[in-house]
C-alpha cells in the first residue's frame, strides 16, 4: 500500500494515512516521509480521517518522523483524527507532542501562518 502526499507549501505536506498504519505498512510510510525529509520538507500534516487501525509499530514510525524533524523545529500535526487513532493517542499521551486539528485545512492554516 502506498501513501498519497500533497504539498501545501515548500516545506509542508499532507500525507493521507489511508485505512491502516501498522506493522504491515510502517516501512512504506517510513520511506514515504523519508523522501519528503530529503526534499527539505519539515512540517507534516497527517490526515487520519479514514484510519481504522493504528498499532504500536505504526505509531513508532510516526515517532521516528518526529525525532528527525523536531531538531529543525519541524512539526507533525494530526488532522481529522478518527476514533481508533484517538484512543492510541490518548493512551500514549502523545497529544502532548503532536498538535491535533479538526480538519486538514485548519492544520494547514496553523502550520503555514506559524
Amino acid at each position: 500500500m502506498s501513501f498519497t502526499v500533497e504539498p501545501l507549501a515548500p516545506d509542508t505536506v499532507v500525507i493521507r494515512m489511508g485505512e491502516a498504519l501498522d506493522f504491515r505498512n510502517a516501512d512504506d510510510f517510513k520511506s514515504t516521509f523519508q523522501d519528503q525529509i530529503d526534499a527539505d520538507v519539515r512540517n507534516f500534516v497527517l490526515d487520519f480521517s479514514k484510519t481504522a487501525v493504528l498499532d504500536s509499530t505504526g505509531l513508532g514510525s510516526i515517532f521516528s518522523l518526529y525525532r528527525q524533524i523536531s531538531p529543525d523545529d519541524g512539526q507533525v500535526a494530526f488532522a481529522d483524527v478518527s476514533r481508533p487513532v484517538q484512543v492510541v493517542v490518548q493512551l500514549t499521551r502523545t497529544y502532548k507532542v503532536f498538535r491535533q486539528f479538526p480538519t486538514v485545512d485548519a492544520a494547514e492554516d496553523a502550520l503555514i501562518s506559524a
Partner: protein, 377 residues
C-alpha cells in the same frame, strides 16, 4: 517482502546482459565483470545469491569464491558456478566447500532459474526457523521464572508470545527493605527486532534499577533515567517503549507507580472497578519529559491488574476492539476467581471473533487477601 538481490559475475557482456534481462523480472539484479569488481559490489550490498563464471580476468571465480569463504559475513551466501569448462577437472575444483551448484554453459535458462529459486527458498526456510528459535529464546528471557511470594497477597501473571508479536516484557526486583519493583513494558515494533531491543532495554533497566534503588524508590525518577537513555544511546536511538513501573510495598499495602504511555492499570475492589488514570508521555520521544508518581492504596481484597496492548487490541465479533472498557468489564468477576488471569484471558477470547490472541498478550494480577479471595492462583 523485498525482492531478493542476485549478483551476476561474468566477464562476457552478452551473457551478463542476457542473465540480467532474465533475472530482472523476479529479482533485484547486480552485476560485476570479474571477481575484484564483485567484491566491491558485495562491500556495498550483500546479495542473497551469487551466480559466477569461473574464467575471468583480474580475479577468477575460484579466487572470488575462496575470498567469500574466508569472510564469515559472506560465507553463507548461496553460490552457483557457471562455466564453459565442462571437463571433470574443473568440475572437481568447482565442487569445493560452499559451492551450492555447478551449471555448464551453454546452459538452460529455465534450469538455472529453478535452481536459483530452490536455493533461495532453502535459505528462507533456514532463516525463518532460526528467527523463530531466537524469538522464542528472547521471549523467555523477557519474562521471569518465578514470582515473589508474599504473605497476605496473591500474584499471578500470564504471557502468550506470538511469533509476529513484539517486545512485551515483565520483570521484578526485591529491594533491601522487602518492597518490590515490578516492570511491565512494550517495546514498539514487531518480530525479532522488537524482541532484541526489548531484551537490550530490559538489561539496561535492571542495571539502572540496581543503581538507583540505593538512592530512591521513586518509579518516576527511574522512568526519567530510562527516557534519557533511550534518547541518547546509539543502539537504542529510535526505539520507543511504553512502560509501567510499580513500586509495591506489601507492608504498607500501597503501590506507587509511574506510567509512560502504557495501558493504564485497573483496580478491582469489592465495590467497584476503576482505572488508575494518571500517565505521562511514552518513552523515547522527548527530552526532559517529566514523570509523576501516583500512590494507590490496596484495601482488603482489592486487585491491581496490569497488561499490555495485545489484550486491548483483540478484535471483537462486531469488528471493534476489546479496549479498556472491555477489560474493565471482564476484570470485575475475576476478583473472586481461583485463576483470575486465566479467566480474564478466556473471557476475552470468548467475546472475540478469533480463537487465539492476535498479538503478544501479557497480564499481571496482584491482589490483597481477604476472606473471599482464594489464597493462590
Amino acid at each position: 517482502m523485498a525482492e531478493h538481490a542476485i549478483l551476476v559475475v561474468e566477464d562476457d557482456s552478452t551473457v551478463r546482459e542476457l542473465l540480467r534481462y532474465r533475472l530482472d523480472k523476479q529479482y533485484d539484479v547486480l552485476t560485476a565483470a570479474n571477481g575484484e569488481d564483485a567484491l566491491d559490489k558485495i562491500e556495498e550490498q550483500v546479495p542473497d545469491l551469487i551466480v559466477s563464471d569461473i574464467m575471468m580476468p583480474k580475479m577468477d571465480g575460484f579466487a572470488l569464491q575462496s575470498a567469500l569463504q574466508a569472510d564469515k559475513n559472506t560465507r553463507v551466501i548461496p553460490f552457483i558456478f557457471l562455466t564453459a569448462r565442462a571437463d571433470e577437472r574443473a568440475r572437481r575444483e568447482g565442487a569445493r566447500t560452499g559451492v551450492d551448484d555447478y551449471i555448464t554453459k551453454p546452459f538452460d535458462m529455465e534450469q538455472l532459474l529453478s535452481r536459483i529459486e530452490r536455493l533461495l527458498e532453502r535459505m528462507q526456510v533456514f532463516q525463518t526457523q532460526l528467527g523463530a528459535e531466537i524469538g522464542r529464546d528472547f521471549s523467555q528471557r523477557l519474562l521471569p521464572n518465578a514470582l515473589p511470594d508474599v504473605d497476605d497477597y496473591r500474584l499471578c501473571y500470564e504471557s502468550e508470545a506470538r511469533q509476529q508479536g513484539g517486545g512485551d516484557l515483565f520483570d521484578w526486583t526485591r529491594t533491601d527493605d522487602d518492597t518490590f519493583f515490578l516492570t511491565i513494558g512494550d517495546v514498539m515494533g514487531k518480530g525479532l527486532r522488537a524482541k532484541f531491543y526489548a531484551f537490550t532495554f530490559l538489561s539496561y533497566v535492571r542495571g539502572t534499577l540496581h543503581t538507583l534503588l540505593k538512592e530512591s524508590t521513586s518509579p518516576a525518577a527511574v522512568m526519567g533515567e530510562i527516557n534519557d537513555m533511550l534518547l541518547n544511546d546509539d543502539v537504542l536511538n529510535d526505539t520507543f517503549a511504553s512502560f509501567l513501573l510499580l513500586h509495591w510495598d506489601p507492608a504498607a499495602h500501597q503501590v506507587t507507580y509511574a506510567n509512560a504511555g502504557h495501558c493504564r492499570p485497573v483496580l478491582v475492589s469489592e465495590t467497584d472497578v476503576r482505572i488508575a488514570t494518571h500517565s505521562d508521555l511514552i518513552l523515547g520521544l522527548e527530552e526532559d519529559t517529566s514523570f509523576t508518581d501516583t500512590t494507590l492504596d490496596l484495601a482488603l481484597g482489592t486487585a491491581l491488574l496490569a497488561y499490555t496492548d495485545g489484550l486491548m487490541e483483540q478484535p471483537l465479533r462486531d469488528g471493534s476492539l476489546l479496549g479498556e472498557e472491555g477489560i474493565v468489564d471482564l476484570a470485575k468477576p475475576c476478583r473472586t476467581s481461583p485463576a483470575p488471569i486465566d479467566d480474564l484471558l478466556a473471557s476475552a477470547l470468548s467475546v472475540s471473533d478469533r480463537s487465539a490472541f492476535q498479538d503478544d498478550v501479557l497480564a499481571l494480577w496482584l491482589q490483597r487477601h481477604d476472606g473471599d479471595v482464594p489464597p493462590t492462583c
